[in-house]
């Protein structure tokens, strides 16, 4: 299992989507490709923009399908971050079911 501490990459306000994209491509996707489950630990992250969460996870859902969510765990999310993740996960899946 691979654990990624988001705060170490982006600080308490997760807004830089270049960093989100880099995290996805350099850390999350390789771990998934190797068959590892991934824990995205948001401990210490006070807020996140929709843009950041979108750049972090939406393409993973599109690429691997919704079942990939069984291999990704979102840990220690404050309510606003949790809600943002739920929004992005839901609209991405809505957009996938064309």
């Amino acid at each position: 299992m691979k654990k990624i501490n988001i705060v170490e990459y982006v600080g308490a306000f997760a807004e830089n989507k270049d960093k989100a994209r880099a995290l996805r491509l350099q850390e999350i996707v390789p771990a998934l490709e190797q068959g590892q489950d991934v824990v995205l630990d948001f401990n210490g992250v006070d807020a996140a923009t929709q843009s950041f969460i979108h750049a972090l996870i939406s393409e993973i859902l599109r690429q691997y399908g919704s079942d990939i969510l069984e291999r990704i765990t979102f840990k220690s999310c404050v309510p606003a971050v949790r809600k943002m993740i739920e929004i992005v996960v839901e609209y991405t899946q809505e957009g996938m079911t064309d």
Binding site: S51, I87, E90
Partner: protein, 321 residues
């Protein structure tokens, strides 16, 4: 170019000010102000800085300013942005904490991240308010970096008004504008149509695909408009010759978010002087700031419904004879 600052420009009364903007002769800037006093929204300063930054300082003419006005423009960083001497060498600048964020030019995502990180402590806001303001600044700045295609980036500034307990935020760029950005993936013939799409969740200029691409969802402006809507505040978007203005909700009206910005209580003026780029202004009254999580619940509901409705609109219909 000619810009005249009258004594009062806020989002509610900004139309005459924009109508008076003369964009001809972009190599010079003639800036005049009300002789006695003026009081303006930060978006006005962002606008002046963004058009003036490319004008040679020798071709910027600034009217003689009354001392208080000159001091204000100096503190907000306008003379610095325009690279002109405001004649204020003798003043002592105080630390701006708790009052304003001077004009700041943003070119890159890293510029934006450090700006947002440094800005939040300056405003001395409670955590919940700081999150909202940081969110707005970040998403607006990011839009320019990604879509405006201008080497000059964006100018942002903000000010806290104690009497009304309101943060007013302005951002302006002189990039390709919303119509050209949206036209890359959608068919639009007017600035108003482009603004409508830009404010609709799930639509972006970078792809025609529902929900955007791997890094663009087409939701940033919708979120920001929704924050203004939830807080009963003004929000303006000016690009090309069109100004979209989200009007204040009355205190008794129930919060209702719409995916289609033309269903919100708004005004639209389509015959303004051409603004090559995009300007956004927003007011956030801190008395009314809804808890961010409640706002996200409302956004969630509207966003998903909008996607479902667009999908439904593409369904093939049964034929009957």
């Amino acid at each position: 170019m000619k810009i005249h600052i009258p004594n009062s420009v806020w989002l509610g009364n900004i139309n005459p000010f924009l109508a008076s903007f003369d964009p001809s002769d972009p190599d010079s800037l003639d800036l005049t102000v009300n002789e006695k006093w003026f009081s303006v929204h930060p978006v006005v300063l962002a606008m002046i800085a963004s058009v003036g930054v490319n004008v040679d300082a020798s071709r910027i003419r600034c009217a003689k300013l009354e001392a208080k006005s000159r001091y204000y423009l100096q503190r907000m960083g306008l003379f610095h942005a325009l690279k002109i001497d405001g004649g204020m060498d003798d003043i002592t600048e105080h630390e701006p904490a708790g009052r304003f964020i001077p004009l700041t030019q943003i070119h890159t995502a890293d510029d934006l991240s450090s700006f947002v990180a440094n800005m939040i402590p300056l405003l001395h806001l409670p955590a919940e308010h700081a999150k909202t303001i940081g969110y707005i600044m970040s998403e607006l700045g990011r839009n320019v970096i990604e879509h405006a295609r201008t080497s000059e980036g964006a100018f942002l500034c903000a000010q806290y008004y104690q009497k009304s307990n309101t943060i007013r935020i302005g951002i302006a760029d002189t990039g390709i504008g919303i119509k050209e950005a949206i036209s890359q993936s959608h068919s639009v013939s007017t600035d108003a149509e482009a603004i409508r799409l830009a404010l609709t969740p799930g639509i972006t200029g970078v792809t025609s695909r529902e929900g955007g691409n791997d890094v663009n969802a087409g939701a940033g402006l919708f979120f920001i408009k929704s924050i203004a809507q939830a807080n009963r505040d003004f929000f303006i978007l000016y690009s090309g010759s069109t100004l979209y203005k989200l009007l204040k909700r009355t205190s008794s009206s129930r919060l209702r978010l719409f995916a289609d910005p033309f269903k919100d209580r708004h005004s639209l003026q389509t015959d303004l002087p051409y603004w090559q780029g995009t300007m956004v202004g927003i007011d956030i009254n801190l008395d009314d700031t809804k808890e961010f999580i409640l706002l996200l619940d409302a956004i969630h509901e509207v966003y998903i419904k909008a996607i479902q409705e667009r999908k439904k609109a593409r369904y093939k219909k049964a034929k009957f004879v």
